[in-house]
């Protein structure tokens, strides 16, 4: 049983590495420019269907743009948004959580209450509300997802810090004259990274879905930049004539999110069996 879990995790990691490689090499791998349209070639089916051509292996969209090229470039956006959001919100959340849990004080109170209010806005609602004001764009997209994400990390880290700071080994280090900074870096942070790694992994998956959802609603990166969510939005009105437009971008999302979730499952079991599946 143990060996199979490891094998699944390794396979997931390999798939994720391949997708990342494909995203990095998108300009080299793409058959055509992803935003070049060709109205004579519009709605060409995938190459293995009658009427398809090898020039567009996965067919073309309603403007005659190459679906495969757009998928490859779309991987860049999904991965950049997923990882950047988790990195930024993780850093902010961990910093607020560890300082708040360690020092307490009014700022800690204010930030935690602000977090309570923020949790009243589910990510899609917050996204629609903020992006309707700020306007679409990569920066705003990441900003909204960070605003929605930091509190999870802050809460977990704060709770762990509160319980850690009076544990014997921390008290002992303090009695030996260790400064706060050293106590935080050497004694508190090393003990909170495991639950954070698990939550962060699942967050990458959820963020990629959130990005796709907001792009689907037209609130992501503006057209014609390729995004898997936006491709699904463009394809949904042509579902009867161009099923591939609805099928391929969704499959891409499914594969990436699935392997990240599998990695998260493995990480959770390996690092910290107490952590429940992230809420």
């Amino acid at each position: 049983m143990r060996g199979r879990r490891e094998a699944v995790a390794l396979a997931s990691l390999i798939v994720l590495a391949l997708v990342t490689l494909v995203a990095v090499l998108a300009p080299q791998l793409s058959p055509v420019d992803p935003i070049r349209n060709d109205l004579l070639e519009r709605l060409t089916p995938p190459m293995w269907i009658a009427g398809g051509s090898a020039a567009h292996p996965l067919g073309t969209d309603t403007l005659g743009r190459d679906v495969l090229s757009r998928l490859l470039y779309g991987a860049r956006l999904s991965l950049v948004v997923g990882f950047a959001t988790v990195l930024i919100s993780g850093l902010i959340g961990v910093a607020i959580g560890v300082l708040g849990g360690y020092y307490g004080g009014w700022l800690d109170d204010v930030l935690m209450r602000a977090g309570d209010i923020q949790l009243a806005f589910p990510v899609l609602l917050l996204g629609v509300a903020l992006l309707s004001v700020l306007g679409p764009g990569l920066g705003n997209l990441i900003l909204v997802l960070v605003v929605s994400g930091w509190i999870t990390y802050a809460r977990i880290v704060r709770g762990e810090t509160l319980s850690l700071k009076h544990r014997d080994f921390v008290e002992a280090a303090r009695a030996l004259g260790a400064l706060d900074r050293r106590l935080i870096w050497r004694h508190v942070l090393p003990n909170v990274w495991a639950p954070i790694a698990v939550v962060a992994t699942f967050s990458v998956a959820r963020t990629i879905i959130a990005e796709a959802s907001l792009s689907f609603l037209g609130l992501g990166v503006p057209a014609p930049a390729p995004s898997w969510g936006a491709m699904l939005d463009e394809g949904r009105n042509y579902i009867t004539t161009g099923w591939w437009l609805a099928l391929f971008p969704g499959t891409a999302i499914l594969i990436v999110v699935l392997v990240i979730n599998l990695l998260g499952d493995w990480l959770r079991d390996a690092l910290d069996p107490r952590v429940e599946r992230g809420m």
Binding site: L125, V128, G250, V257, M279
Partner: protein, 307 residues
């Protein structure tokens, strides 16, 4: 018990205040709210007129207090597009369309999760368990709106309109959006019931119940499931909130005439009174549901009240 409830209630009131404040600040994020609250094609004079009409020429603090007084009454001004009070529009779309959809999806995701999770747990590592876990994993990794598109492709296109893909009007219109909305919570609930059951089934009182000859079905659903139901309860409550936010996108896919679609459609026209009122109502329901879960939690598990 009562002090716990009072504390939660005060906290709930605090969060509602925060929600109102956030909605107030929303249109002021980028400067001039008048630019957001009037028709984009308005002339300078019209904007000035509206500014005075809405009190936007007064000090911000005064505006804020007026907003705090107006929001609980549901007064968010008139929709720019529909020329009607925004809150009336919001409530019309919330009830019955969004409530129907959210409830149908919530029922689907909880009622199916219990038997699936129990069977998965009692047949751990069997074929049924593997199928159910694989399905859960796939459904949790799939955006709900894409599942919606696939359902449309299958039922409305491939099966030649076995079920309607768009709009509302009959219970048949409800089926596909409810499935798309319920899928991810169903997967999560199934995993949760399974994990809870696996833990409870190992305990002594289950062995005792079996030893004294209680029928297996009764052991599973009365003795075991009831004791593993507490985390399930929280997640169910929260997933109802998730249904509401998921409704924003699922309603758009299926052209379901609910609150989520109303808000999304208000965005390109910059109909901010509708967006503000809709966001306010959504957040309010979300807070209310969380509060309800806390209460139920305290009722079901006496230990919660003491902490």
């Amino acid at each position: 018990m009562s002090s716990f409830l009072v504390r939660r209630l005060i906290h709930g009131v605090f969060v509602v205040w925060g929600v109102v404040t956030a909605v107030f600040l929303m249109v002021r994020l980028t400067g001039d709210p008048a630019a957001f609250l009037v028709d984009p094609s308005a002339t300078r004079e019209e904007i000035e007129h509206t500014r005075r009409l809405l009190g936007l020429d007064r000090p911000v603090l005064e505006q804020y207090l007026a907003f705090l007084a107006a929001a609980p009454r549901g007064d968010f001004g008139a929709s720019i597009r529909h020329k009607r009070p925004a809150m009336a529009l919001v409530l019309e779309h919330l009830w019955p369309a969004t409530v129907e959809l959210a409830l149908a999806a919530a029922l689907l995701s909880t009622l199916l999760a219990v038997p699936l999770g129990v069977v998965s747990a009692t047949h751990k590592d069997g074929a049924a368990d593997h199928v159910s876990r694989l399905a859960s994993l796939l459904l949790q990794s799939m955006p709900g709106f894409w599942l919606g598109l696939l359902l449309i492709l299958l039922f409305a296109v491939e099966l030649h309109g076995l079920l309607p893909a768009y709009g509302s009007g009959s219970w048949r219109h409800l089926i596909l959006p409810a499935i798309a909305l319920a899928a991810a919570p169903l997967a999560q609930n199934t995993r949760l019931v399974r994990a809870g059951m696996l833990e409870v089934l190992q305990q002594d009182f289950i062995r005792t119940a079996r030893a004294k000859g209680v029928p297996e079905r009764r052991v599973l659903y009365r003795h075991a499931f009831r004791n593993s139901a507490i985390p399930f309860l929280t997640v169910t409550g929260l997933s109802l909130g998730f249904m509401l936010s998921g409704a924003i996108i699922i309603e758009t896919v299926f052209a379901w005439p609910g609150l989520g679609r109303l808000i999304v459609q208000a965005v390109p026209g910059r109909d901010f009174p509708v967006i503000q009122a809709g966001v306010f109502v959504f957040a309010l329901i979300f807070v209310g549901l969380n509060l309800l879960v806390d209460f139920l939690y305290a009722v079901v598990d006496p230990r919660v009240r003491l902490s």
